[in-house]
Amino acid sequence: MPRFEYAPAPESRSVVDIRSSYGLFIGGEFVESSGDASFKTISPATEEVLADITEATADDVDRAVRSARQAYRGVWGRMSGADRGKYLFRIARIMQERAREFAVLETLDNGKPIKESRDVDIPLAAAHFFYHAGWADKLEYAGLAPAGGRPPRPIGVVGQVIPWNFPLLMLSWKIAPALACGNTVVLKPAETTPLTALLFAEVCQQADLPPGVVNIVTGAGDTGRALVEHPGVDKIAFTGSTEVGKAIARTIAGTRVRATLELGGKAANIVFDDAPVDQAVEGIVNGIFFNQGHVCCAGSRLLVQEPVHDEVIRKLKRRLTTIRVGDPLDKNTDLGAINSAAQLDRIRELSGIAEAEGAVRWSPPCELPSRGFWFPPTVFTGVAQTHRIAQEEVFGPVLSVLTFRTPQEAVAKANNTPYGLSAGVWTDKGSRILWMADQLRAGVVWANTFNKFDPTSPFGGFKESGYGREGGRHGLEGYVTTGDDQ
């Protein structure tokens, strides 16, 4: 029978202009470091070097924090909310105008399919700025007003450290609410994905954002530590590993520095016997293979009700034969590259452990490119709660399948983890959805859907998945002070 072969459909790289090297963005300009350390950022799909990136020293971080402080005191902290909103509206509009550029750049630097950066990352990032622009002059309505009736005030200078999985989107989640509430920021993008943050700096210039309101310092762990430990930072916002999150919590203990942490997860995606099964299969696929599984809230544990286990797995495997793995810039690619060699090693290691523990491994046949970092979509069946593959965050396209018998058992297994970021529930029964949502110890419950994000919808975890929320009215709380500080 004839097969519909899709011809290559590459998105053109020519829309984006990547410089050979980048400085740091401090005080509204690109400047040189006080030191001479730099590192390269590469395309994980081809291992091609994209640019040289400056490694910010502790002095550079200090300079950025001072610039942010000056901008806060002199301009931003005293600016009317309406004016702050106008700057944010400008930024949102420019991001929409330059959307294609951002999408291609994000795909090159991160390895995610262009379809995802184009249709999810970039539109959501712009929407976050648009949403928060409207809050800037309405903070008195956010339910955060202190006793005495004064409107909420900003905290001051915020240090923000973001991960490599959704570089521009994570930047938006951090910068938009911070600025809307009147804070100024120093943000460190992840070392493997700095390019869209640096392009964002250009957008700030195009929007005539007052210098020092946004500062971007590139670097790795040392730079991040310098930022987190800097005494001039009033608040820290961190998204990343639970391990580093705990370290930050220890660092600020005993001080008056506040933090919001968005850490790891090991979400249960729970499929009942009465689920709309074809949509549930899509939800499973989306839950763990969207963004190569590099998602803190990924549905990495499939909990399927025993009577329908075989049918669901059969349909899942058939569905996975149509997933296209390959060049992220090809518009038909569904699964892109793993972000780094280090991450690929970790995924391989944990997968090896899973097999050793007795889980059964399966992947659809797929041709992986010879250069770059690649891992096929992988399903482990026969997983038990005590397996490491059921407990530890893999952060890759690896699904562990467990079974359950009753709703109570599903809840118990879903909650049986130190994490608590998200969960999925698939059933046709409304009351069960609501009961499960009540019982699940997770900050986000997706019912009959998965991996849905919106600027208006608060996101964040229970337990070791972190504290604080991003998005919605609740997300503003982390960026205002009621005066007495706390």
Binding site: F4, A7, T322, N332, D428
Partner: protein, 331 residues
């Protein structure tokens, strides 16, 4: 050679097996149909939309355009149809693009039953099929003897395929047994003594069924009753064919092949106007049902203006320039 009644008997016997009952009753059908997994509307539409973002370029586009042309049931179903109109349509089907002899030909012409003889003569030995709508198309609101006579006339006139409509009133009132029995009866009426039975397409009129759950149930009911093809619409009611509805039907035929071991075809009809639309449907066929359906024997487009848009796109691929209505013929 089997007797005329045996097709219906075999279908009913298979239905008893599948339902697990001694007699096919409305209660048994209701339990079976209402026990099928539900369809989440938002999830279904999101999947269809996601498949619509596939980028079909160059060689894939050329292949898709030709495949789509070969899957068209070129249709005229107007009260104003005359022999002249039907002959003109048949001529168009035989030679879609006079400037390019390599152009594939549609699979069939679709006309009202009383035009079958005219179409048959006009199509000659071209191999293009004649499909006739029957059973008081489009409303289906007539007595069973009338619907049977309607079908018998078209079959006697030589139709290769019969596109029947289900009784939507019965379906929406929960009288699945009537719908089942009507399809079985019409299928029997498609038989010919020489064994070249007309193929039966069952039009569900998904626009009137409204919910995706209903579309799934109607699909299964039609397949259980022996339909060779399930078809979305008459084209006389809006909405006609949509991507999500067709996706449900492709899932149904895929699952039916697994469980019943029988392959059933799918035909979206009405509202498919552009090549872009057609390519989206082919992507869905490929990724949902699979290669077995990527063939005019198992997938059809019920369309009229779609053919010319495909021809325009074909010309653009050939010449490199955008084409216009003056360069494709009217039918």
């Amino acid at each position: 050679m089997t007797t005329l009644a045996s097709v219906g008997e075999r279908t009913t016997e298979r239905a008893r097996d599948i339902l697990g009952v001694g007699r096919v009753t409305n209660r048994a059908l209701t339990t079976w149909l209402h026990g099928l997994p539900g369809v989440d509307q938002v999830g279904c539409e999101a999947r269809a939309a996601g498949l619509g973002t596939r980028s079909i370029k160059t060689t894939a586009k050329a292949w898709g355009i030709d495949m789509a042309i070969s899957m068209i049931d070129l249709t005229t179903l107007e009260g104003a149809d005359t022999p002249g109109k039907v002959r003109s349509l048949c001529a168009k089907a035989r030679v879609p693009d006079p400037t390019d002899a390599s152009t594939p030909r549609p699979a069939a012409i679709c006309v009202y039953g009383d035009m079958v003889a005219t179409a048959r003569e006009a199509l000659g030995d071209s191999g293009i099929h004649v499909a006739a709508v029957a059973t008081a198309f489009p409303s289906g609101r007539a007595s069973m003897p009338v619907k049977l006579a309607d079908t018998a006339d078209a079959v006697a006139a030589g139709a290769d395929e019969i596109d029947m409509v289900i009784d939507r009133g019965a379906f929406l009132a929960g009288d699945y047994l009537t719908v089942f029995e009507e399809i079985v009866a019409i299928k029997e009426a498609c038989r010919r003594p020489d064994g070249h039975d007309a193929h039966l397409k069952v039009i569900m009129e998904t626009g009137e069924l409204v919910t995706y759950d209903n579309v799934r149930r109607a699909s299964y009911l039609s397949m259980l009753a022996g339909g060779d093809f399930i078809k979305t619409s008459t084209g006389k009611v809006q909405p006609a064919a949509t991507l999500p509805v067709t996706l449900i039907m492709l899932e149904a035929v895929r699952d039916w092949q697994e469980s019943a071991g029988v392959q059933v075809g799918v035909k979206p009809a009405g509202g498919i106007k552009t090549s872009k639309d057609a390519l989206k449907y082919l992507v869905m066929v490929s990724e949902i049902a699979g290669d077995d359906w990527m063939d005019p024997d198992w997938f059809r487009f019920g369309a009229s203006s779609l053919l010319n848009d495909l021809l325009l796109q074909r010309q653009k691929l050939r010449t490199g320039a955008y084409s216009g209505p003056d360069y494709v013929t009217l039918d």
